[in-house]
Amino acid sequence: MLEAIDLANVVLQTEGGPALSENGAAAIAVGLGALGTGYAQSRIGAAAVGAVAEDDEMFVPGLIFTALPETLIIIAFVTIFLVG
């Protein structure tokens, strides 16, 4: 236990600045947002294609619902301008 704390002290104190620069953090935020969007769209997209296959009129609602998760990545995109 003591050794672990010693080790942690060393690791935390040796380098002065944060491990991640502001730009780096922003990049991670955007990347995670993109992953979330992709995950949501894959499932909604599958359902939307199914619905459109049954009924052409579902095309527009399907498209809207498929595009909704885009908000995630668009909002994540804002962080780039806030930081940079």
Binding site: R43, I44, A46, A47, V49, G50, A51, E54, M58
Partner: protein, 353 residues
């Protein structure tokens, strides 16, 4: 958690979107109200303008009247169920295929009954539903068979094999078809849940939940029929394993006494769903009414499950049930009109949610 279901399990989103769309296209109460007042010709025309257009046109030149309607109905149903199998992938496919084997069971029973009653080949073929696992060629062979033994032999190697073999001795001794039919049903229900990895994930749990409900309902129905008919039959023989409501011994005890049986169902987990059915039984003392109420209860239960768990196998099974009901309803209307039944009498025969 849900991610695992959709990745390992199959394309639930896609299939469910399509199934729900098809479900919405089934005839509703208004359609039935119109249908009940139509003659066979009008029903045929009504169907031509609906979901059944393709089948009606394809078969229209060869058949007419109520036969045309029946052919179109079963063919359309078979088409839809084949579609389900075509879309589904992974575990979802497996679950649907297991359930659709019920049409194999149906076809095997139809062939047996046809031979037993001396029906012509064409009549047997009318009633085959080409939706299960059996190929078209195999079904033709079944329809062509001329003796019960031949059919049992044909079914050698299918899932009904073992059970049928045992039952065919009893058939030879008694010359009654019931043991063979039960053997087929048994084999089907045995295979429904056998080999499912027990409680491994949510999708499987729901599938089992749904099937248990159906088996329970079937046991209830059998028990009541036996109790009502007062026949000297061993109820345990008609018991289907896998349900949760009661076990074989309990069933044996309860089948002798309708009141006790009803009381037992009232206390069970299905009390809410079966309330109407039980009321029907007590008020009217009417087994047909009870049967229909049970059907409605099962439909409602399947809908509840599929609304509660939208991304699971439940909506698909609920659709299968609903489609079957629709086919049976329309057939009842068409046959009823042909036989000259009154509107009220036909309405009683319908099972509408």
């Amino acid at each position: 958690m849900s991610y695992r279901i959709s990745e390992g399990g199959g394309n639930y989103e896609y299939v469910n979107a399509r199934v729900r769309s098809r479900r919405a296209k089934l005839f509703d109460e208004d359609d039935y109200r119109k249908l009940v007042r139509m003659g066979p010709g009008e029903i045929a025309r009504f169907m031509e303008e609906s979901e059944y257009e393709t089948e009606m046109n394809a078969l229209g030149s060869r058949f007419s009247g109520v036969d045309l309607i029946e052919y179109a109905l079963t063919r359309n149903m078979a088409k839809h169920f084949e579609d389900l199998l075509r879309w589904a992938e992974g575990d979802l496919y497996d679950h649907i295929a297991r359930y659709l084997r019920k049409f194999d069971a149906w076809n095997a029973k139809t062939a047996l009954r046809g031979v037993y009653s001396g029906a012509s080949r064409a009549d047997v073929e009318d009633d085959l539903i080409r939706a299960g696992e059996f190929s078209d060629r195999f079904l033709d062979q079944l329809a062509e068979a001329t003796s019960v033994e031949q059919i049992v032999e044909l079914l050698d190697g299918t899932i009904f094999d073992e059970r049928l073999e045992a039952a065919s001795e009893e058939y030879e001794a008694t010359d009654v078809l019931v043991p063979l039919e039960n053997a087929i049903d048994y084999a089907f229900y045995e295979r429904l849940m056998a080999g499912l990895p027990a409680g491994s994930d949510r999708a499987e749990e729901l599938y089992v939940e749904f099937l248990r409900a159906e088996i329970d309902f079937r046991n209830v129905r059998n028990a009541l029929r036996l109790a009502r008919s007062g026949a000297e039959l061993d109820p345990a023989e008609y018991y289907i394993e896998g349900g949760r409501l009661f076990d074989a011994a309990e069933l044996q005890q309860l089948a002798g006494n309708v009141d006790e049986l009803v009381a037992r169902i009232r206390e069970s987990r299905y009390a809410d769903e079966l309330e109407d059915a039980l009321a029907e039984l007590e008020d009217a003392d009417n087994l047909i009414g009870f049967d229909h109420a049970l059907d409605v209860a099962l439909l409602e239960y399947s809908d509840t499950l599929s609304n509660r768990y939208p991304l699971s196998v439940c909506p698909v099974l609920a659709y299968v049930l609903a489609k079957e009901r629709e086919v049976e309803n329309i057939r009842a209307v068409a046959r009823g009109r042909e036989a000259g039944l009154s509107t009220e009498e036909i309405e009683e025969e319908l099972v509408i949610l």
